[in-house]
Symmetry: C2
Subunit: 135 residues, 2 copies
């Protein structure tokens, strides 16, 4: 398996844990020996591992929480750090996520997740850069 494939597998495991509301799997995916952060859509960033785990526990315990499907992954590798940019597809909605991983004990583990809404379609965004940022 290439490093690229290993990172993609870690990213898919994150969305599997999310969709299956499997908190134990989710907890395993996050790095333990280095600092971590998480920016849920619309939320201020969480920068404490316990707060992040508590947020996921609450999200995954909620029967109404979304079950996102992950599409259009792109992997960026810089040595022992990797970024996956991907679309999170939900019924009637679309988010974009940046998921950052580091190699920890030989495995790619999450150190940062930042997801937010997409108001403009990908094709439009790629063809026509914004005249101004949406703020």
């Amino acid at each position: 398996m290439t490093e690229n494939d290993a990172v993609l597998a870690a990213n898919l495991a994150f969305y599997r844990a999310f969709a299956e509301r499997d908190f134990a799997a989710m907890e395993q995916l996050w790095a333990k020996t280095v600092p971590v952060a998480c920016t849920h859509p619309g939320w201020a960033p969480l920068t404490d591992r316990d707060d992040i785990m508590e947020s996921w526990r609450a999200i995954l315990a909620n029967p109404d929480s979304p079950r996102p499907a992950c599409h259009e992954e792109e992997v960026f590798l810089w040595g022992e750090v990797a970024l996956v940019i991907c679309a999170e597809e939900l019924p009637g909605n679309r988010l974009t996520a940046s998921n950052l991983f580091v190699k920890e004990d030989g495995a790619w583990r999450l150190v940062h997740h930042h997801a937010g809404p997409v108001f403009m379609r990908q094709e439009t965004a790629q063809r026509r850069p914004p005249k101004a940022r949406l703020n």
Copy 2:
């Protein structure tokens, strides 16, 4: 200067170029020898350096583009890769940003910028983790 300070300085230089609408400075801040990505608020990710520069050129050329101030920076260091999480303060609005840097030719250069809206106040987010993600 510690690595932490050097990363903070690079992050401040990004917001200075943004606020002063200085495209030449902005272009210099982005890594040239490794892949880069940029997720403007509400937009699908841009993953081509030329597209990213074109987006910044259009944003900075617009006299109505925002002049964000950067607050509450937190630096995360993993070897030659660093993340800054910070608040982007705008008149009547608040965004959260994740800015990723790599060491290139001895300088910290941007490889990814992801900014998005904050709908909930920091204090609330830190105290009460979400019951469900906002989607």
